[in-house]
Symmetry: C3
């Protein structure tokens, strides 16, 4: 499927994935976010960039945390926000996804922030809006199945840039359940785009997808090996449902092999930063001493995440659709 | 019960039903809505008409779609919106409906948008507010039981006026489950008020209520007969729970007899428009070729619905209560 | 635990409990609320005191009524409000309470309005924010376990002051299930602080906690005795789950002994006012003739409650944290 996130001038009209996004656009998002970081520190934390615009949070899958960050970002841009938990609504009345989308677009929505358990759903929606020439509506992917979570990837890049300045001399390790992680996929694409020379992935064989080497990634199953000398460690959340069963023996066993402890962290570069998309499982993938320690930048990720989402929303809202 | 929706000057202080509403008020609502249609197209889609007013969406029955349209309309009027899903709240603590209403009115609510499974509930609330001289609070009926759904009726009239200009030379057919439809009742009242010379109702005997002829309506059980030469076709949604059981053999059988196909649509006037209150059951009451075809104005209904709700809300908010 | 609600200048930076709150601060809240009562009567019911501030309603326990009053108060102060029903969110993913708090604080929250089934939860949150020097975030307790409901206590004081002017010559009776009532605890503290010379508690032995006499309270198990000559009657709600079982024979028996009827009300001072925190159980703790009678000020409590919450929120938002 042709990537429908760019309009014919090559501008970002939807944000669906980091895969294939030009470096110049990634940098433009990060630069714009930088200007919004200070907004959140001001007494009045609002800018009028999206005043009178209607943002619909379409959450077909529940995620209070992600919904909240987009709701805050929208309000700080002065947009009107409508939260729709779609699982509980029209689709239960047998209406199709695209009929729901057409209906909301007809209410003069300006933006859909879409979270869906099915990979590709935001693509499908954006493609439909383009095909039916509903160019006034923009789509932002807030996580689709195992596919992508581009704003998480972008806020991770913002965080790395903030602490490390230059991407072109870094070694970055992504640790954990890469197989089921849309965060990992988005991060790998972004790191590659930004010129990181060495991206490593660390995890048990059962939680690593095939094809990683073809993406230019070095694969480690031994965590001590993989952490050696890295500048950035991105820990992934271990989903509760993986903690026992076919893929893993138990949470305790996992922590023994892949939990980030102070001892293991000492193998990385002394200035290495530790990231986590949250919510953390303390004692499963990360030790509390690390999570609360001086190298963790996990709460900074949250703060930067608001600014990055404000940047993405204001940029796509400003770029007209394919035919314009 | 005396109709409590007009104040002693004959102005609309609540909107409860279209039944008995003077033609001049209906036209005033449609004219006002017309001025709001352009607001939704503007860059900043807001007018300050209800700035600082508190609108409470009191949904005793779940309806995400209708709640969303009122929430958008409120925000475009610059009102503050409070969404209350009442089923899950005070009434479960044993508080009576009218105690809940008094409590919310004491918080200086300006408007209650009420959806209730029981016919007459918005009447009861409006009457109570009038009787207890709480004249600062206005009620808008967002659908009560099988009784009325007046804003849907009004947006249907707006849509017909937009496409057909003059009501006084039209033949309008309402097709489907009239028995259980508050939309049908509201539409019949509105069409009659606006001078439509011929209103037809088409459906199986089991889904038609008695007394239609006395309302001045022509009844057809043969859809091909009923559609002949009509200018406007209003399809009704077939509720899932009717699709099998005592009243109907099956959804497939229903479609065979009463589904709107391109062949059947060809029996109507060549310029006939097709309307549907949504959400549609494609392949049950309507064929996709019709739903997505050039004669369908279903998404326009949605767009006009926001403007009509803005009109109703701003009009009733501006008219003081009975004693004023 | 040191009371963390005052900063080192003795100013209110969080509102956690009325217990130990200086009389000057209580009076400052009531005076400030007085200025907001008129705001709710104005055409535009908003003041810009918290414009651009982000208020998070963190309801770990469902309470639509209380949540609504804080949401309205926030919006009338022009704040942005984010409603989080936490039970259904992160904590179900195994994240700890304090991790959730740190995350939301990192989004540049300005205020947490906290409702929790566990006594002390808001204290824990405020202490953690102070300890970790996250001084930009303020906590308002919206009810914790059986412990405290300070804004309810303060709105009760506002109501008494409105109708009785002077606290120092009053006899006040609190009637009902004192054992399980956080409202009763908050009221007793507030009345004592404001110099009420005689506070009485009336109820069956099984619903009265120990230690009341040490709080300076007179205890009555005979309602007729307890009501004699009182100026203010605060009725408590009887929770449904107490109405039958070990603690009480039945709702009917309870009404016979402790229901407030017109006959019993006649034993109080002729100008006595009747209060209730709502929602009322008519026919259980209060007779409808009293609830709707001229001495009831129950709906005024609701109205004053909005102004009191606006006062608390604007005061704590204006006072910087412990180290400032």
């Amino acid at each position: 499927m042709h990537n429908p996130q760019l309009n014919k001038h090559g501008e970002l009209q939807h944000l669906l994935t980091i895969d294939g996004l030009p470096k110049s656009i990634v940098n433009h998002i990060l630069d714009t976010a930088s200007s919004f970081v200070s907004v959140s520190d001001r007494e009045v934390k609002k800018v009028p960039l999206m005043r009178g615009k209607s943002v619909f949070n379409l959450f077909f899958e529940n995620s209070t945390r992600t919904r909240t960050t987009f709701e805050i970002a929208s309000k700080r841009l002065s947009a009107d926000v409508i939260n729709l938990n779609i699982a509980a609504s029209s689709t239960s009345k047998g209406e199709s996804l695209l009929d729901t989308i057409d209906n909301l677009a007809a209410m003069h929505a300006d933006m859909f922030v879409v979270r869906h358990a099915t990979s590709g759903a935001p693509f499908l929606i954006a493609k439909h809006l383009n095909d039916t020439k509903q160019h006034h509506v923009h789509v932002v992917n807030a996580g689709d199945g195992r596919h992508a979570h581009p704003t998480q990837g972008l806020l991770d890049m913002y965080t790395i840039r903030h602490y490390k300045k230059d991407f072109t001399n870094l070694t970055v390790a992504i640790v954990g359940d890469v197989l089921h992680s849309r965060v990992a996929r988005s991060d790998i694409h972004a790191l590659t785009t930004l010129g990181v020379p060495e991206v490593r992935v660390i995890g048990p064989r059962t939680l690593l997808p095939g094809g990683l080497e073809q993406m230019g990634v070095r694969v480690f199953t031994d965590m001590n090996e993989g952490l050696k000398g890295v500048d950035v460690i991105i820990m992934l959340r271990l989903q509760n449902e993986r903690m026992s069963g076919a893929l893993l023996p138990s949470a305790q066993e996992y922590f023994k092999s892949y939990g980030l402890t102070p001892e293991r962290l000492a193998l990385a570069h002394p200035d290495a930063i530790v990231m986590h998309p949250g919510p953390m499982n303390r004692g499963v993938e990360i030790d509390s001493a690390v999570a609360d320690g001086p190298q963790a930048v996990i709460l900074s990720q949250v703060t930067f995440g608001i600014a990055v989402r404000m940047a993405v929303m204001s940029i796509v809202a400003g770029n007209s659709g394919s035919d314009a």
